[in-house]
């Protein structure tokens, strides 16, 4: 019985991490219609910024995390301006975007590895002192509770902003047709820039959360991104709430599968689900 509770808890935590990844990714995808693999790198930037500030310079926790999130946002914004905006102006194909973003991911990951080494490292200072709670026989850490809360909060704020504010309307207009949006006086490039800034901040937060939950590695972003993509596809690409539901569903299946077979097949299970969805239900469970 305890095992069942623990697996449910694990699934919820993993789901919250994937949900963060899916949220930011969905935001970019629904406005620009391309798959930004660089998204994984922004997550790593956030996590390593915190690593440098919090463990290297010994800043206190909250400013480190805030600066880490902002650093991720700034990197995302810069990449958008320098790489993706010229491509958009040239109306490059999706393949070109995909390969350029692959380049972005590769470069940022390698630079991080050169500066911080490619070793696996932890973000927490005092691993022994992390507060844990016992819930119906399962264990959950304080970090994990915070991750869960952050995920739900961002989902709500994002959903609300996109639906009810002028900014949200502008975003949806750009997503529908950026040229027409420009004609009616919306600055598409500015909107997309902001979207990149916000979604990269979410990516940074997701990276930091992973860092505190397990640890950091320059290549951590790609794994996180791919889970976010799978979650977004399961939930229906571009649907904010769908992505979150997809994330929890993916985490549940993964953890149940890992329990039934063995932990090392987790990734294979996740990607098998992805392939099944691509083949039989590419529009996802809750299409937009």
């Amino acid at each position: 019985m305890d095992i069942a509770v623990q697996i449910t808890l694990n699934a919820i935590i993993a789901g919250a991490l994937y949900a963060l990844a899916a949220l930011g990714f969905n935001l970019v995808y629904s406005t620009t219609r391309f798959f930004d693999l660089g998204y994984g790198a922004y997550a790593a930037v956030g996590a390593y910024m915190v690593f440098w500030l919090y463990k290297g310079l010994e800043l206190s926790l909250v400013p480190s995390i805030l600066l880490g999130i902002i650093a991720a946002g700034v990197i995302g914004f810069l990449i958008e301006t320098v790489v993706y905006r010229p491509l958009r102006a040239r109306k490059a194909s999706l393949t070109v975007f995909l390969i350029a973003s692959l380049g972005v991911l590769t470069v940022i990951q390698a630079v991080i590895a050169i500066v911080f080494s490619s070793q696996f490292q932890t973000l927490s200072r005092n691993i022994g002192e992390i507060q844990t709670y016992t819930l119906w026989g399962g264990v959950i850490t304080q970090t994990q509770v915070l991750i869960l809360a952050a995920g739900l909060l961002i989902m709500t704020v994002l959903g609300f902003t996109l639906r009810y504010t002028m900014f949200g309307k502008a975003v949806r207009a750009v997503a529908d047709d950026s040229e027409v949006a420009t004609i009616v006086g919306i600055n598409s490039n500015r909107i997309i820039g902001i979207i990149f800034f916000v979604s990269s901040m979410i990516a940074g937060l997701a990276g930091i959360a992973v860092g505190f939950d397990t640890g950091i590695q320059p290549t951590m972003g790609l794994a996180l991104l791919l889970k976010g993509v799978i979650a977004a596809i399961i939930g229906g690409l571009g649907n904010v709430y769908g992505g979150v539901l997809g994330a929890f569903l993916l985490a549940a299946i993964e953890n149940a599968g890992a329990w039934q077979f063995a932990g090392e097949w987790k990734d294979a299970i996740a990607f098998a689900i992805l392939i099944l969805f691509l083949l039989y239900r590419p529009q996802g469970l809750w299409p937009k």
Binding site: F35, V83, P86, L87, A92, S93, L94, T95, V96, F97, L98, I99, A100, L102, G103, V104, L105, T106, V107, I108, Q109, A110, V111, A113, I114, S118, L226, V229, I233, A262, E264, W265, D267, A268, F271, A272, L274, I275, L278, L279, P282
Partner: protein, 288 residues
């Protein structure tokens, strides 16, 4: 000298990988991120046959080619009707799953421990144990693959593939069953990757799953994007540059782990710059 021979052998192996991937990606427009799977299947099948059944290298090579082609047939049959980004993610997922199998099917692949002691080729008492004869063998196989590739690209079959790449709907209106063509070229592409796999296993005399991960697939893709999609010679040129480059970096005086990351930085930057300024690559004909 011995060192130059080593580099030349690697260029041959990656040249075969590049040329074979170009058939699928460059000629037929199938943006596959799973080439390392067929490479890996070739390597494992050849290694296991030579070690456990004491099969001669050249027979093991043939069987490895058949096995790689068979796996490519399965993958192609499942994925051939997926489009664009969906195809990319499905093939990437397939690579992740295959990698999990290499890593976790301990009874056969010995998992992360890898398979040591793979013999060098022998033919009628003549041994390719030294690197120079091995280079000659590799170059001969590369030339063979090159001939197959140029034969395909100059045939009517190749022209139909090009047409599929440019406009699949149009060519299917003319009565061509495009899915059969795509399946056929993927099988050929996968089978030729098996040649590289068998060569690699016998040359290094040791294989483990890390050589056949998604990153390897991405690296091979970078080779042909750099060289230019749709160009057999471009694939060779790309392999030459991306293999020789890190060695040059080592001579400049970077320590080897930094040199490895520098290679990633350079090839990531190359991808970004190519997409911004020359999306068809160095010798490419296909403008993405």
């Amino acid at each position: 000298m011995e060192y130059l021979i080593h580099i030349a052998i690697l260029v041959c192996i990656y040249g075969i990988l590049g040329i074979s991937l170009n058939l699928a990606v460059g000629e037929a427009g199938l943006l596959s991120v799973m080439h390392a799977v067929f490479y890996g299947i070739g390597a494992y099948v050849a290694a296991l046959l030579m070690l456990n059944a004491e099969v001669n290298f050249f027979i093991a090579l043939l069987l490895a080619v058949v096995a790689s082609g068979f796996v490519a047939f399965i993958a192609g049959a499942i994925f051939s009707h997926l489009k664009d980004v969906y195809y990319v993610f499905a093939t990437l997922g397939f690579n992740v799953i295959a990698f999990s199998v290499f890593l976790n099917w301990d009874d056969v692949t010995r998992g992360p421990l890898g398979i040591p002691g793979i013999p060098r080729p022998e033919l009628f008492g003549f041994s390719f144990f030294d690197n120079l004869p091995f280079l000659i063998l590799s170059a001969a196989l590369l030339y063979l693959v090159y001939l197959v590739s140029t034969y395909i690209t100059s045939s009517s079959f190749g022209r139909v593939l090009n047409a599929i790449r440019e406009d699949e709907e149009m060519i299917s209106v003319f009565g061509y069953r495009t899915s059969s063509y795509k399946l056929a070229i993927l099988v050929i592409s996968g089978a030729l990757a098996g040649v590289a796999g068998a060569l690699f296993a016998s040359y290094i005399t040791f294989i483990d799953p890390s050589s056949f991960s998604v990153n390897e697939s991405i690296f091979i893709l970078a080779i042909i994007i750099l060289g230019g999609l749709g160009s057999t010679r471009g694939a060779l040129l790309g392999a030459l540059i991306l293999i020789a480059l890190p060695e040059a970096l080592r001579f400049i005086g970077f320590p080897s782990d930094v040199a490895a990351q520098m290679r990633q930085v350079v090839y990531g930057l190359l991808l970004i710059l190519l997409m911004l300024y020359r999306p068809q690559g160095m010798l490419g004909k296909f403008r993405m």
